[in-house]
């Protein structure tokens, strides 16, 4: 039953990805101002939204780890696995944002990069979570998970700053399309393709996130069993 449910979810996700691609390329009309290049929005914005969501999951996992580390060891390990999975998959999506954005910018603005508030805070967010992953990969000792949880919490503080940056400051990056000032928004014929792609990337992201979580849980179980074996053989 579980295998069937997983297979069904994977099939639905793949169907959504194909459907999202079809909507983005063949259904959404050309933009009157930007022409074809605006179609990057169907990958760029959903990737940013999913990255924010996963950094929020990493934040919840980090808080969970710090809350349970002295009282419930198993819950702490589960929280830590979610924190790591959220951070790592979030970095993948944030990398997509930082690559597709400049490709779009080169055609729309004539430049690959500018140090405006939106772009800079997004780069800082990416750097914080890359440092989180480097800490987890290369540091050793019993405090690594605790230090990583603290860094994960500080990293998440940048997410609302990134989100609000083009509302608080004047930026080269366009003003918000959704939830922005009066007159902002998207033509109805473009909204449906956009929402399909949001759904598709969310489904894909959750699939990858759950795989990463299970890999980390397996890793934790292997590490615990090895430590137990080492204790018994000593």
């Amino acid at each position: 039953m579980k295998k069937f449910a997983i297979g069904l979810y994977v099939a639905v996700t793949l169907a959504l990805m194909v459907w999202g691609f079809y909507q983005a390329i063949y259904v959404a009309p050309e933009d009157a101002m930007q022409g074809e290049i605006y179609r990057i929005i169907f990958y760029h914005v959903p990737s940013a939204s999913v990255a924010f969501l996963f950094f929020a999951i990493s934040l919840a996992g980090s808080i969970g780890f710090l809350s349970f580390r002295r009282s419930r060891a198993e819950w702490a390990q589960i929280s830590d696995a979610w924190a790591l999975a959220g951070a790592e998959v979030g970095v993948v999506f944030c990398t997509v944002v930082l690559i597709t954005g400049p490709i779009w910018g080169r055609r729309a603005w004539g430049i690959w990069w500018t140090w405006d508030a939106r772009l800079t805070t997004t780069l800082v967010l990416w750097l914080i979570y890359v440092s989180y992953l480097l800490l987890r990969r290369f540091a050793a000792g019993p405090q690594v998970q605790t230090l990583a949880a603290a860094l994960g919490i500080f990293g998440a503080l940048d997410v609302p700053i990134v989100y609000m940056s083009n509302r608080w400051w004047r930026t080269q990056h366009p003003a918000p399309v959704f939830g922005g000032s009066e007159g902002s928004g998207m033509a109805k014929v473009m909204v449906h393709p956009f929402l399909w792609n949001m759904l598709a990337w969310l489904a894909w992201g959750l699939l990858i996130l759950s795989i990463r979580y299970h890999v980390e849980r397996q890793h934790q179980q292997n590490a615990a069993a090895e430590a137990q074996e080492a204790l018994e053989s000593a």
């Binding site: 691609f21 997509v96 597709t100 490709i103 779009w104 055609r107 990858i208 890999v215």
Partner: protein
């Protein structure tokens, strides 16, 4: 076709291909990592017998 349109099309194609290369590359890496963890668990179980 207008050269600007061709360039736009190439940039969109590049963005989509890079996105998929990153996502599928990461998925492949995850698959390898999962297999390594499963094998480590199987080796441990085998040793315990």
């Amino acid at each position: 076709m207008d050269p600007a349109e061709i360039l736009d099309h190439q940039f969109v194609t590049a963005a989509y291909i890079i996105t998929w290369a990153l996502q599928l590359g990461y998925l492949a890496w995850l698959g390898l990592k999962w297999r390594a963890e499963k094998r480590a668990a199987a080796r441990r179980t085998h040793r315990a017998r």
